[in-house]
Point group: C2
């Protein structure tokens, strides 16, 4: 049967001061009236029933996610520590297989914005069938619409069938010139949407992932805490996909964004006639291409361009949109009592 | 005896949202820890005793000014309506003369920033003695330090004595090219610091100011409300000084600013090493030449230049410094419930 694993970790700093550790971006209505986590679940409707959706998250968010997403408590997997996507996906896949030995797993993230849900479901189903047919770890590569430097890329190799291809290589976040070359040569964005049979994933982990494989026995004995204490933090991309020969890619033609920074909002929300993405009591005059969000006081903005302006949780942030990707660095330079939000 | 008249009207919109009708800029600590109104009074120490300082203001501010400035109640003259500086100064001069027939009057504003108080007092005394000696209305012209387009200018004429000159003409707020010409030709800023003998002022008003002169009898009968209802609003500059032949100018070499807009703050406050003027819990990173004021929440600003950013009275304002002079226009475009503050 088909299972979905939704990764819902994250420290909540990328949308500071709106996102906080107890209210990280996946629980915020960044793209519309629902949170992206709610959208991630409802987008699976017709493909995966709720009782086969597993959420991986940290201790701080488990209760809120159970409540907000209306999922059975046993479907929320609480990581004892954040150790990147490798251990999280291995644990969740192991858990799916324990409940259903023939489990096929779809891996996704709680903070995506996807416009065409039908196309998403069609592609996800295709990825699952490719995974089953070719016994491969299948990545969905999004057809790029711009030479984005904030995403990783997948360079496809030879054809496996009418839609799937092997993976020639993964390219990490490129510089601007490389991003143009990648896009021109047909490379695809590495979305993090993956499909595999549980058995194939765990076999490949045993073969390639020294950071995790020696500790799988701890999971078999039900010692999740021991497993997370023993593994080395590693992403599924670096720890497995880049090492395995059994990888494939299918193209995704839906609009996808990981809503990684404040700068992404105008791509995933309705914009006004001047390109601004605005939420809350905000009054713009002669202002273009800004992101202005108030959960607090009215914000009056006049005569500026390309800024992020936010009031939330008793903090005000003003920065250029081009600095949004460096927000973590900005926060590191602040006094903890200003930066740290509950 | 020497009297001082301090004009302390104003609608409180130029420093929105910090200034409000009940807390206008002259009551704000714009230049330091004291309000500019308090500084206006203490700056007169040694020149004019408190019992001979008259304040002209509106009904909303009278009680606060009496309390803050520690003045006798009868020295606060409450205008029934705002009618520009002409009627205000005529009434206050009339009132000084009523209490002291030989009154000499110094006219100043409650919202000035003046750095060198000694030089100010020296120049004020000189203007008063010029007024007495030559029976003229004496303006103090500030020696300009930049081709400011936000001030009016005084073009001096022929010498009256070692320091005073006649006034060739007044030039209203000039464009940038004209300001450069004015500065190069020795024109001085029209500060609004004036000195006159009460009798001379009232004679000149009778001769030149049709907007006011016919209604002086109402003042003589103690009917202040009738006087303000009857007069036409007119500034002392347009209504009298530009028309009278009995005008003189003495140069002022102290640092003077009317703190007319948010943009003025970096001129009248200490700046940080990057040219920013900052008040309240403000955290600046890679930010230059900004004005950032918080009476409310902490403001984090990164990577911007030449902006005004304010949080006060439950409102946030973000605009370029060059728009500060147009703040009234910005406010006119806002919904009243956002703009109007108590």
């Amino acid at each position: 049967m088909i299972w979905a694993v939704i990764l819902a970790g994250g420290s909540g700093s990328r949308f500071w001061p709106l996102s906080t550790p107890s209210n990280p971006k996946q629980l915020l209505p960044l793209t519309g009236s629902e949170s992206t986590a709610e959208q991630a679940v409802s987008r699976l409707e017709g493909l995966v029933p709720r009782e086969r959706i597993l959420i991986v998250t940290g201790p701080a968010l488990a209760d809120r996610l159970i409540r907000v997403l209306d999922l059975p408590r046993e479907n929320v997997l609480v990581e004892p520590r954040a150790a990147s996507t490798g251990p999280a996906l291995v644990w969740a896949t192991f858990e799916a297989q324990r409940r259903d030995p023939a489990a096929q797993v779809l891996s996704l993230h709680a903070d995506w914005a996807i416009r065409e849900a039908d196309s998403f479901r069609h592609t996800a189903a295709q990825a699952l069938s490719t995974a089953l047919r070719h016994k491969r770890l299948v990545t969905v590569g999004i057809v790029p619409t711009r030479p984005e430097t904030g995403f990783g890329y997948i360079v496809p190799g030879k054809s496996l069938d009418e839609s799937a291809r092997t993976v020639s290589r993964f390219a990490e976040k490129p510089d601007a010139a490389t991003a143009l070359d990648l896009m021109a040569s047909g490379a695809l964005w590495n979305s993090g949407l993956f499909a595999w049979s549980a058995g194939v994933l765990l076999d490949e982990v045993r073969r390639h992932t020294d950071e995790i494989a020696p500790h799988l026995a701890l999971l078999q004995h039900g010692d999740v805490a021991g497993f997370f204490a023993a593994v080395t933090a590693v992403s599924i991309d670096v720890g497995l996909l880049e090492r395995s020969a059994a990888v494939a890619v299918v193209p995704g033609r839906f609009t996808w964004d990981d809503v990684g920074t404040w700068d992404a909002l105008p791509r995933v929300r309705p914009r006004d006639a001047h390109g601004n993405a605005v939420v809350g009591p905000v009054y713009l005059l002669d202002t273009d291409d800004c992101v202005v969000w108030s959960n607090g006081d009215p914000i009056v903005v006049s005569g500026v361009k390309d800024l992020v302006i936010v009031h939330a949780h008793g903090r005000i942030l003003v920065m250029p949109r081009r600095q949004a990707a460096d927000l973590k660095t900005i926060l590191d330079r602040l006094p903890p009592e200003i930066r740290d939000l509950p």
